[in-house]
Amino acid sequence: MKTIRIGSGAGYSGDRIEPAVELAEKGDIQYLVFECLAERTIAIAQGAKLKDPAQGYDPLLAERMLAVLRPCHEKGIRIVTNMGAANPAAAAAKTRDIARSLGLEGLKIAAVSGDDVLETLKSGDHRIEETGEPVSAMAGSLVSANAYLGAAPIVEALKAGADIVITGRVADPALFLAPQIFEFGWSMEDWDLLGKGTVVGHLLECAGQITGGYFADPGVKDVAALARLGFPIAEVGEDGSAVITKVAGSGGAVTTATCKEQLLYEIHDPAVYFTPDVVADFSRVRFTQEGPDRVRVAGATGRPRPATLKVSVGYRDSFIGEGQISYAGPGALARGRLALEIVRERLALTGVEATELRFDLIGVDSIHGTALSTAGGQEPYEVRVRVVGRTGSLKEAQRIGNEVETLYTNGPASGGGATKSAKDVVAMLSALLPRELAKPAIAFMEA
């Protein structure tokens, strides 16, 4: 039976780079996939593209490509990534330039576009999922709208001989499903195999989160060598069977426990996992430890794909202003509480216009509120005051941090380490678009 090995080189845009190099050099892989798009990455990248048409792709693209292009070229490893963000064509051109600067020849690079559906969404009768409001009502504040494309255009690019495929918004598991469809000649309507390939993609898409990252809990769940965490490899067979593993000697661990945690990560109903390619069913998945750092995954299935594509909609939402200051030693908690009272009163006295405010004591109740946090009743040695609020302008947001900072000379005794910030917020909502309205396109260039 034919098998391939797919490596996962990044779980998010800012992820570590050496584990990807390790995969390329020692992973015995045929595909290296980088999943780098968080919810609002494209919305922010859209701003960069508007300022400079050669920008708008992942800020770490150049560093990543410089690190992995040579070993991938030497070993014939194909790269699939969504680092194109808002500008896959510019990302492909940059990658071509890097390949040339490294003296690598004959590389075929594909840029997949067509996920940008902003104009389509604005012009039609479409609604925001979360609010039920028409998209047209938000037209003035919309920044971006990107449909989650499926595996099809990546498969097409691979068929055309692409060594590197760079996309914008694509469903994360599709980046991994596409090489399986291409290599094994799977039908785009074989729901069972697409479901099996999708669970592999889902397990790999967060890279180190299945090899021991986001897992360690000393004394309960110990993981060795997290500073040298190895990224995962899926060994997939043409019948959809799969084993999750990693490079021998790298840090971390692949166990049934790490796999179970990642299976349910960001999942709602495990029997109904929507993707553009298939509705995958993870509800009967089983894991078996077959050896050290080798876990077999079985039991995923699938049903026909939905008629609509999810669209991620970015819009200018608001401004957020924040200030923090620390208190320590005897009475720190009381001084922290006094500081919060003072800022609360100052914001009212000076008429700061905030639509939402939060008053936190970091180290006491900032994460889960008072009921859970104060159950132990112990006094912390130090506390950090945090006041944060939502406003309609940057100027108004700045006033919140200022009212925390002025506690230095106007507040409780020995407050230190004040910081303040104010920023504009691009937030995300979603919409559903009939799939025929998104038109994927592929452009090729050669290094």
Binding site: E39, K221, A257, P270, V285, S318, G369, L372, A427
Partner: protein
């Protein structure tokens, strides 16, 4: 006994929805977890954080539960004022749930 003695957990986020898995270390403990870690208990534990409904899904093939909690992330990760906007810390808080002390054989590991 605490839930943390027999189970592990991970939080995920999508928009304003948080999901928390609860996974038995030993699948033999799954029925106990299924009986005592209910959606109502999770909703009660997180009443200051989760404003919407809590729905529980069972995945016996891996000895796990999955709790899906709506209006749990301060209006959504991308606009929340919360320090932990993703709700990543929620999983650890859930493991502090009290469980009935039942006689169990010691785990080999």
């Amino acid at each position: 006994m605490k839930l943390r003695d027999i189970a592990h957990s991970r939080t995920g986020d999508k928009g304003d929805i948080s999901n928390i898995s609860v996974i038995a270390f030993d699948e033999a403990d799954y029925p106990l977890i299924e009986a005592h870690v209910t959606a109502d208990r999770v909703k009660e534990l997180f009443h200051e954080v989760v404003l919407g409904e809590v729905v529980r899904y069972e995945i016996p093939s891996i000895g796990a539960l999955n709790f899906v909690m709506r209006q749990a992330l301060g209006g959504g990760v991308t606009r929340s004022l919360a320090l932990d906007a993703h709700g990543k810390c929620l999983a650890s808080a859930l493991l502090d749930l009290e469980m009935p002390d039942v006689a169990r054989p010691l785990r080999a590991t």
